[in-house]
């Protein structure tokens, strides 16, 4: 397992607000890292810094040996990224959008169309292939975003809430896809669905108010709760350990 992402004492402030305060972690190839935390905890901000969209206030991000500040294009080439909310050009059809991504990712020759077809079938968006993206449902939009992220078969995948807005069957499909790809890739996913962590992640990180509160396997996380309940464990970690016994049971 070689190292794909190395994040060291990463900080980000927006004026007086400290969104991320010194977060460090590594992700190896073959790992699926689950990013957990309450809303506004700094998950998306951390992902935006890894992908080179935001510049860190301090700290370093190394992706496959390239520093994201010194060599952003090399980092962007090796990453596939699904931004929060899966933004896409609404007026384009799925077909022209994926072809645009293929252009930018410099997919050429006979492999290009084959790869597009492969991804379209794998993600199950063939039936909306000719439709414009703005007419699609939330679930389809999300899947087009995932298709865009994996099109160039990247070494490193960063997916911000990949299953948000999907129905239970679609969630299941996307989780299977992530597990399949996990063998040789380094994958970070953020999610609010804690069972998802148990189902697909080999490691979990909890961030709250910009600080790293937990880094370990899902089993270790569950073990934090005397009820063997991952939701309970999450609440224990994010609300401070001293309050453990006062935690409401609802």
């Amino acid at each position: 397992m070689s190292e794909a992402i190395k994040v060291q004492s990463l900080k980000k402030s927006f004026g007086p607000i400290h969104a991320v305060r010194g977060v460090s972690f590594d992700v190896n190839h073959g790992e699926v890292l689950g990013f957990l935390g309450p809303n506004g905890a700094g998950k998306s901000t951390t992902m935006k810094m890894i992908t080179g969209f935001l510049e860190p206030t301090a700290g370093t991000v190394i992706v496959n040996g390239h520093d994201v500040l010194e060599n952003p294009l090399a980092v962007k080439k090796s990453i596939g990224y699904l931004p929060e909310g899966a933004p896409a050009y609404g007026e384009m059809t799925v077909k022209s959008f994926l072809n645009f991504i293929a252009d930018i990712r410099q997919l050429t020759g006979s492999g290009r169309q084959k790869r597009i077809d492969e991804v379209v079938d794998r993600i199950n968006i063939r039936n909306v292939y000719e439709q414009s993206i703005e007419t699609l449902s939330k679930g389809y939009k999300r899947r087009v975003g995932i298709a865009q992220a994996i099109l160039h078969d990247p070494d490193t995948l960063i997916l911000d809430e990949p299953t948000d807005g999907l129905d239970p069957n679609q969630k299941h499909e996307v989780r299977n896809l992530i597990k399949e790809m996990a063998q040789d890739k380094a994958i970070i996913i953020s999610t609010h669905i804690l069972e998802e962590v148990d189902a697909v992640c080999s490691r979990a990180i909890i961030i709250a108010t910009g600080e790293l509160l937990f880094d370990g396997t899902p089993t270790e996380l569950i073990a934090k709760s005397d009820r063997n309940d991952i939701d309970h464990a999450f609440r224990l970690v994010t609300s401070g350990k001293s309050d453990a016994n006062k935690e409401p049971t609802s």
Binding site: K77, P83, G85, Y89
Partner: protein, 244 residues
Amino acid sequence: MSTLFSIYKREFTSYFVTPVAYVFIVIFLFMTGIFTFYLGAFYESNQADLEPFFRFHPWLYLFLIPAISMRLWSDERKSGTIELLMTLPVSITDAVVGKFLAAWTFTAVALLLTFPMWLTVNYLGDPDNTVILASYIGSLIMAGGFLAIGSCISAFTKSQVIAFVISVVISFMFILSGFPMVLDLFQGWAPQAIVDAIASFSFLTHFTSIKKGVIDIRDIIYFGALIAFWLYVNVVIIEAKKAS
């Protein structure tokens, strides 16, 4: 295929999948017609040239070009696609120049579709067609100047309305910078050299010779430098505040 060309191609085709392109082109052609025949007194002048047609281009561009350029970056901000674009392996310069060239090509298409005007003047008389060609080229270069201003302004805001209004105001100052309404603002306190420099920025002054069919290298350099300057600022703005 270079990433610049990929951006260009996506941007250019996106004009034609929405009604924007068709609405713009129809209005542009309609307005050039009105200006030429009514305000420009094309028939009454009894001259076989297109000076009455080109004379009003700066004023048409003042309102129509910001309508094209306002969406270039504002829309990316508003829809969040700027995050997608800026995390793809594309340099900001490629993105800015690709988008600008796409908008410029679109303007060229609109301008080319005024060819019935050229046919009309050739049917009615015997105009100097090299003069007309030179004027077309000059008009297109001036359109590039308006576009570069508009593209840069749209990088500041996610509101297309704000981008439009500010672009019109700045373009208006560039059109009129040789005239008292702008110069009076500076006359009282600024050194004469600065007042002269501001006066020399006027689009109208630089377009005067162009619309007579004279392509002066100084006018070309002026518009070229203007485009380069605004696109450079555009790159800097995107670089500095792509996420805000």
